[in-house]
Symmetry: C2
Subunit: 116 residues, 2 copies
């Protein structure tokens, strides 16, 4: 009997290395488990997971950055953020793996579950 | 253009339009009044004022982003921020003027005076 895999947002990041990097097909498969809006970016040798959020103003974008920051600290996995008036772009990648890993999708799924 | 003599960090932003845009020479002159590290970026038709800060970790970069955010709200003038582990890039420009104005340098000077 195969136990059902935990939902991504209920999983936690763990230290991952190059052997855990997802290829483009595996990344696309994981992408399907996230809310719409996320996309795979970058090249095969340096994949990343991105989403741009539209917010009401600068303060709302900064508030979302802080919520993501708290989540990132809890998971010890940190994104790149681009913040401007009414927008926040989030970019996940796993530097220790040289690309995308499950950690990136776990954090993205946790963002999907943040309260609005 | 003669810049007002009041120290930049003691001035406040005000609504500015295209006629207040600084040309490259005026921008370089204002740049000399800021701490080292700031630079004029972009093209003559879309100048911006940028600085990249190196911080100890993600949380420190986010803390600086919040301090800058508070200053931006107080002045009702908002930068673009690029935040990652241990780094924060700040980019000022005045969209209503289509380039750099005194407002951008006032906010940069206020960042220079933030407590460490």
């Amino acid at each position: 009997m195969t136990l059902p895999e935990l939902p991504l947002h209920e999983q936690h990041c763990r230290p991952l290395g190059p052997t855990h990097a997802l290829d483009h097909a595996a990344a696309e498969s994981a992408l399907a488990r996230l809310d719409a809006g996320w996309r795979i970016a970058g090249t095969e040798s340096a994949l990343a997971l991105e989403r741009e959020f539209r917010l009401s103003d600068f303060a709302a974008a900064l508030a979302l950055a802080n919520a993501i920051g708290a989540l990132a600290e809890a998971e010890d996995h940190h994104p790149d953020l681009e913040l401007g008036w009414g927008r926040l772009r989030v970019r996940w990648t796993t530097h220790s793996a040289g690309g995308l890993t499950l950690n990136d999708f776990i954090c993205a799924a946790k963002i999907d579950r943040l309260p609005p």
